[in-house]
Assembly symmetry: C2
């Protein structure tokens, strides 16, 4: 079905134009006309694929969220230890490469609008964080059963902390207040507290 | 000098209109005309007090940063223990009241633009975080000298963690994924790790 593939590629090409504009200049400049120019297509084509500006904003965000999910999943090594598994997911959330940097910027650009727009909020808040939190608790609970976790820890709070460290420093990395190495050292500091072994 | 006071009040009245629009709908709607309407003054008056849209954006952000600094400082209790001091500052950074909520939203609205605008970046990134980090390290170092800190902690990393927890969960509070009580419990969890006494 070459026609179908072509449609998907075209939608992605337009969505990528939205991402570039939103991450570089904010939503302010995401208009049908400017997106069309950035994507190198006509405004009519953008309308054909997405409809209104609202639908374009939503569609581009949905594609980005899907992308990020896949990227984090691809980073997870097979047969990794619980500690390494957590570490890879956490590092995967940091804006250390161009794509993750852009993803965080697009999310920041959309944030306020999503607070007042249920459809955007669903594509956004969509409990990715919650499910990561639960995944982290599961991983650490399994590691505890194997005697790998330090005594006296509240695993739900530790999961929250790991996520807060990873997401809380994102903007600091973007503005250059922290380097990726500094943040990874911070993640390791907490993994050292949580796990009895360094492997 | 009643004239001077009046000028400052007028600037603040206009800045507050910028904050309300930016926190509610993003920078997209912060135009001279919409700000004038929101402030209940003429577009000419906005121009008289701030000049261009760029200067208005900058001036409103500077006033907000000043405000936030004062509010955090006012929260700090006199003769507080090191632990209570940290706790009050950290809670003061959370979007738990209407003003802190608005402050965080305005900062999010400005973020991408500040990455590409040195004047905005200076009003923004202006090393408030860095200085808070250093203040936290100082407070904990003094507490350590008095035997109040648990063994084996890297105080710079702990300072980073406390700040990351506080800033990292801000958006989660705004979207309702976390309550203020949950986040305060998380802050206390870390203060319990760091401080030997609960006072």
């Amino acid at each position: 079905m070459p026609k179908k593939v072509d449609h998907e590629q075209r939608r992605r090409q337009i969505a990528e134009a939205v991402w570039r504009i939103a991450s570089g200049r904010g939503l302010e400049d995401v208009t049908l006309r400017q997106v069309a120019a950035e994507a190198g297509v006509s405004t009519r084509l953008v309308q054909y694929y997405f409809g209104s500006r609202d639908a374009l904003l939503l569609g581009a965000l949905e594609l980005l969220s899907l992308d990020q999910k896949q990227r984090v999943e691809e980073r997870i090594p097979k047969d990794a230890s619980p500690r390494l598994l957590l570490r890879e997911i956490l590092i995967g959330l940091l804006p250390l490469d161009e794509h993750q940097r852009m993803t965080l910027l697009v999310q920041l650009a959309y944030f306020i609008r999503a607070l007042n727009d249920e459809a955007l909020a669903a594509a956004f808040i969509d409990p990715e964080d919650q499910s990561l939190e639960n995944l982290f608790i599961e991983i650490m609970t399994a590691a505890r059963a194997q005697g790998q976790i330090a005594d006296g820890l509240d695993l739900a709070r530790e999961a929250d902390t790991l996520l807060a460290v990873s997401t809380g420093v994102g903007p600091d990395i973007l503005v250059g207040l922290k380097t990726g190495d500094q943040v990874i050292a911070m993640i390791d500091y907490h993994l050292d507290r949580i796990f009895l072994s360094s492997e």
